[in-house]
Amino acid sequence: MSKKSYREAINEAIAQEMRRDENVLVWGEDNVGGTGGDGEQDAWGGVLGVTKGLYPEFGGERVMDTPISESAFIGAAAGAAATGLRPVVELMFVDFMGVCFDQIFNQAAKFRYMFGGKAVTPMVVRTMYGAGFRAASQHSQALYSVFTHIPGLKVVIPSSPYEAKGLMTQAIRDDDPVIFFENKVMYDEVEEVPDDPYTIPFGEARFTREGDDLTIVAIGRMVQFANDAADQLEKEGISCTVLDPRTTSPMDTESIIESVEETGRLVVVDESHPRCSMASDVSSIVAQNAFKALKGPIQMVTSPHTPVPFAPELEDQYLPDANKIVASAKLAMAS
């Protein structure tokens, strides 16, 4: 056990799996960083340094740079996975999905079904999401809802360093294509993380707060904000459960439903755009399956139906935060 950042936790999980299984390979733009040049190799280890150190340890046969050709190199991961490797490949920002989505949603995701259950495609696509980085409209989106919509994909959104390591280890060992969403604002956050490998199973929610009055379901980085909000609400006499689904596909709908059956109230916190979102998804599942227990309207806290603005003042306003969650929680309690 030692303090590790979200970045280090992910890096360590990958390194340990690479040591364990020689079929695990890593590639992406500048995942080494420096290929072909006269300076340092492993100069970058990915644009925010997550894969740094893998190249020196595992060498150029297992850790590779790529041209800026996402369709080709992510499709190559699908093809490699279907033929016996276990690639961990990087789609730098999920905002770039638009140049390569076909290889993910029509190829990797559908092989198994289209081929009558005969394909196994164990690949992990690591990708960064989320606002708050001053990176504007094309580098700040939280598009996990789109991936969650697609049958055949698994979608993982770790909300802390501990979660990140355990979920990444599971993702690499998993036999299905996994999209692993890393919140770019969280890389430097630290917590105690075991040194040995461990897995966190997919489809099992975790509870970060337990309470009787209200269930808050929060996605990824929003879990922190939900915790803050819960702590604040506690002081005002409102006792909240905070539930982190960890994976949105598969999703632990049972735990969500059970929790709402206990509390009778639901707030969903999702930093994505509101329409056809995870907020919609969780709300609808509860409205269908735990209706009788509901004491008031479900509240959704999301970003607006608006691209992510550049100006810091606007971006800060754009994202959900603890205050907005508290306000929604009070609305949920009022009715």
Binding site: L25, E61, R62, M64, T66, P67, S69, E70, S71, A72, F73, I74, G75, A76, A77, A78, G79, A80, A81, A82, T83, G84, L85, P87, V99, D102, Q103, N106, Q107, F111, R112, Y113, M114, F115, G116, G117, K118, A119, V120, P151, G152, K154, D174, D175, D176, G203, P250
Partner: protein, 321 residues
């Protein structure tokens, strides 16, 4: 490259099987027995056969929407293919894939593909597996002239070159992408494009099994020996419409009839091997009979076969979920 009598006969069998398969599917589709989008490979047999003759199960191919010929040449079970095209539970993909998604990974057949340009990225991955695991395998992506304009295809050219992969890109140029002529839609030439990415390339008459076979032998050998990717521009023609149901009014009057007369790869093959005394007409006639029976049996079985059990609808989405 010299082929043994057995190999020649086997190649003839492959071509004849493709032809008969496709002509029969055409008939059955017309009479309403087969559902869906079906794209036939008749006329292009020498390409699949000439190339895949060099391959074994450790080699991978990725195909296109027009995939039956590639499947057959790569060794997929013909009976199970027919069952699949009929959407039957015993089909090669359990009836879930259909004509555009036939695959058999155990044979190195990584799938027909409903997405134009879908295959080249995948094949880079298969090639990487072969290279990393040192299997000696090569990986071949078939694309059409139309698919040769898809960005995914170009990216794959570059990735294969930069990663130095044992890949061959085969552009099967049958003159049309749907109804659009490749004379118009392709800027530059296929071989110049290969040069643009630093790849060697070769253009070949795709009606001539021997020309294809020779050219393929060279590029495949290079790839197997660590010489990196190449491109083949295979010029050929399709005898049917883009898909079943296409009235082909975009083709010149009499074009298909002329092609069937002059550019029939099976006739050209037979003329060649008999003239050179490599095979006898009798031997080939025997193959024709065997194949006819195989196809006929497959159709008959497929017509009667059961659809997938209804509880299969939601299986096979994940390994675990």
């Amino acid at each position: 490259m010299q082929l043994s009598r057995e190999e020649l006969l086997e190649s003839y069998r492959v071509m004849r099987t493709i032809r008969d398969f496709e002509e029969r599917v055409h008939e059955e589709f017309s009479s309403g027995g087969i559902p869906g989008f079906v794209h036939l490979y008749s006329g292009e047999e020498a390409s699949a056969a000439g190339i895949c003759q060099h391959l074994s199960d450790k080699d991978a191919i990725a195909s296109t929407h027009r995939g039956h010929g590639h499947c057959i040449a790569k060794g997929c079970d013909v009976r199970e293919m027919m069952l699949e095209i009929y959407g039957r539970g015993e089909g090669l993909c359990g009836g879930k894939g259909g004509s555009m998604h036939i695959a058999d990974l155990s044979k190195g057949m990584m799938g027909a593909n409903g997405i134009v340009g879908g295959g080249p990225p995948l094949i880079c991955g298969a090639a990487l597996t072969a290279k990393y695991k040192k299997t000696g395998g090569v990986a071949i992506a078939f694309v059409g002239d139309g698919g040769s304009n898809q960005g995914t295809t170009f990216e794959s050219y570059n990735l294969a070159k930069v990663w130095d992969l044992p890949v061959i890109f085969v552009v099967e140029d049958n003159g049309y992408a749907e109804a659009t002529s490749s004379k118009w839609s392709v800027g530059g030439t296929q071989t110049d494009r290969a040069t643009g990415f630093g790849m060697p390339s070769v253009a070949v008459d795709g009606h001539d099994f021997f020309a294809v076979h020779d050219a393929a032998g060279e590029v495949i050998e290079r790839a197997r020996n660590g010489g990196g990717p190449s491109l083949m521009h295979v010029k050929l023609n399709r005898f049917f419409g883009h898909f079943e149901g296409d009235a082909m009014t975009y083709r010149a009057e009499g074009e298909v009839a002329r092609l069937r007369e002059e550019k029939d790869s099976l006739k050209i093959f037979r003329a060649h091997v008999t003239k050179e005394d490599l095979l006898s007409n009798d031997e080939m006639d025997k193959v024709d009979q065997d194949v006819a029976k195989l196809i006929d049996d497959s159709v008959k079985e497929s017509e009667k076969a059961a659809p997938p059990h209804f509880d299969k609808l939601e299986t096979d989405v994940y390994v675990t979920y």
